[in-house]
């Protein structure tokens, strides 16, 4: 066992410079659910932007507490908070869309320095105002047809994003030190793949239900399942 772990980490060292290598990568997956009473999602009134009203035949709801069957929670960021072993940096561009006066996805996770492209797919203007505290807070206009705003973030931070023109537009940039992160889907499921053997702290973050962490040890090409149960409170 010890020998296997040792051999595994040796391999990581060997392939580290060449990108995602053939080390015996482990996977951590699981589900995020809640106990307690979550706030009710309420329909958004977009009357101020008639074009956005027509883009949504059925009214869309607020997304700060999206729950599903089996008490599942969507838009939870699950990531490796400690134990990273110098994994290759995430380099693919993260896309953040403004469409129908909504942010898609509501929560975008990315690594520090990872390219981020913000698109306006609407036939009118939005302003993108990331309310960063550790990173620089900026505010840029993006009229219809404007090219994507391309940027990166230098420091780990959960950054609330808003549009001042459309006060219901709220989202998050989850900027993480690790390249290992996942945002839960409609079933509350997440998956962190490509983990070399080692001991990890896995953290789940939700904008309203707080943060929780668990320790997980990956010994080789195995899949470990960890579930998180967050405590939901109405407003």
């Amino acid at each position: 066992m010890m020998l296997r772990i040792f051999a595994g980490s040796m391999l990581v060292v060997l392939v580290g410079a060449a990108g995602r290598g053939p080390f015996p990568a482990g996977t951590i997956n699981g589900k995020v659910t809640y106990t307690g009473t979550p706030p009710k999602a309420h329909p958004i009134d977009m009357a101020k932007e008639p074009n956005c009203v027509t883009q949504h035949p059925t009214p869309v709801s607020t997304q700060d507490a999206v729950t599903g069957p089996g008490n599942s929670v969507r838009y939870v960021v699950v990531y490796i908070a400690a134990g990273d072993q110098g994994a290759p940096a995430a380099t693919d561009t993260v896309h953040y869309d403004q469409k129908g006066c909504m942010y898609i996805p509501h929560v975008a996770a990315m690594q520090v320095h990872q390219p981020l492209a913000i698109f306006n797919d609407d036939p009118h203007s939005h302003n993108i105002h990331p309310l960063a505290r550790i990173n620089p807070e900026w505010n840029k206009s993006q009229p219809k047809g404007a090219p994507p705003i391309r940027t990166t973030w230098e420091q780990p931070e959960f950054i609330a994003v808003k549009c001042n023109v459309h006060p219901w537009m709220h989202g998050y940039f989850a900027v993480l030190a690790t390249p290992h992160f996942s945002v839960t889907d409609t079933t509350g499921a997440f998956m962190l793949a490509g983990l070399p053997p080692g001991k990890y702290t896995v953290t789940a973050w939700h904008e309203r239900f707080g943060t929780q962490s668990q320790e997980v040890t990956i010994g080789g090409a195995e899949t470990k399942t960890v579930n998180f149960v967050l405590t939901a409170k109405p407003y």
Binding site: S125, I128, H129, K140, S141
Partner: protein, 282 residues
């Protein structure tokens, strides 16, 4: 080889100084405005006399007068400033902060501080910068370039009016610039406090100055912390000047632009579609 050794020696000497100094903020947060160097120790004394009542002992804008003031005093711990020469998201220059203290803000309770000497104001800047670690880890941005202003014409005002429509300035500032657009009532700043868009009919001065250059700078840098975004990526310099010329016609004072515009309207007013949803054209 020699200069490197000299530089290393200088760095070693500095670290000795820093180590001996206890708090290093004083050294690190000097300010420079022209030929004047500001110092935190002097700035602290001035701050405690003139600024603490509103901006508070820790610079977070929660001084004892703050509950009665709207908009709230600046929170220096965030190092986010509205009136800058630097791009959105960048720290302001020392000159920007100096100008802000000197000029005050017509749209807030911040008075002009001309009675203080230039040295006093520069010292205050050195001290204000000790409230946020951002001044230790980062540098001010590079001021945006402002090319020479072309002469205003009816055509440039018309183009500016189309930009006011197309950039959707009217959604907050209102079709006539009265600060009453459809989004005006729900605007909040970076602390979720209500904030009003500028009403161009209220006076002669803007938040960050009174000249055409100041106006150009306001919408090209954005007023960080407020809902006013930067348009630097959206407007070419010539377009920005067109917009300046149009905005000048919204003021209640006799400007060059207002006179040109009045003449044009005398013969062409009927050609204009009102600003607003689906409007703004000629």
């Amino acid at each position: 080889m020699r200069p490197i050794i000299r530089r290393m020696a200088r760095m070693a000497a500095l670290s000795v100084l820093l180590g001996a100094g206890g708090t290093t903020a004083g050294w690190a947060q000097e300010s420079q405005v022209g030929s004047i160097t500001g110092h935190t120790d002097a700035g602290k004394k001035l701050y405690r006399r003139y600024c603490i009542g509103c901006h508070g002992p820790s610079g977070d804008g929660a001084g004892e007068n703050a509950p009665w003031i709207d908009p709230k005093p600046r929170d220096f711990t965030l190092a986010v400033f509205k009136c800058r020469s630097t791009p959105s998201g960048a720290l302001p220059t020392d000159e920007d902060l100096f100008n802000a203290i000197t000029r005050g803000f017509v749209t807030t309770y911040m008075p002009q501080w001309r009675p203080l000497t230039a040295q006093n104001r520069t010292d205050l800047i050195a001290y204000i910068k000790t409230f946020s670690p951002k001044w230790r880890s980062g540098k001010p941005g590079t001021p945006i370039a402002i090319p020479a202003e072309p002469a205003p014409t009816a055509e440039s005002i018309l183009r500016g009016r189309q930009l006011f429509q197309r950039m959707e300035c009217w959604k907050c500032h209102g079709p006539a610039g009265h600060g009453d657009g459809p989004s005006a009532a729900t605007l909040t700043d970076n602390k979720d406090l209500p904030i009003r868009p500028y009403d161009f009919s209220t006076g002669t001065r803007f938040m960050c100055g009174a000249t055409n250059q100041d106006l150009y700078r306001i919408f090209m840098t954005g007023l960080d912390g407020s809902p006013m975004p930067s348009f630097a990526d959206q407007l070419k310099p010539a377009e920005a000047w067109d917009l300046v010329h149009f905005l000048r016609t919204l003021q209640p004072i006799e400007t060059r632009e207002a006179a040109i515009w009045r003449d044009w309207l005398n013969t062409h007013a009927r050609e204009l579609k009102p600003i607003g949803p689906g409007g703004g054209g000629r």
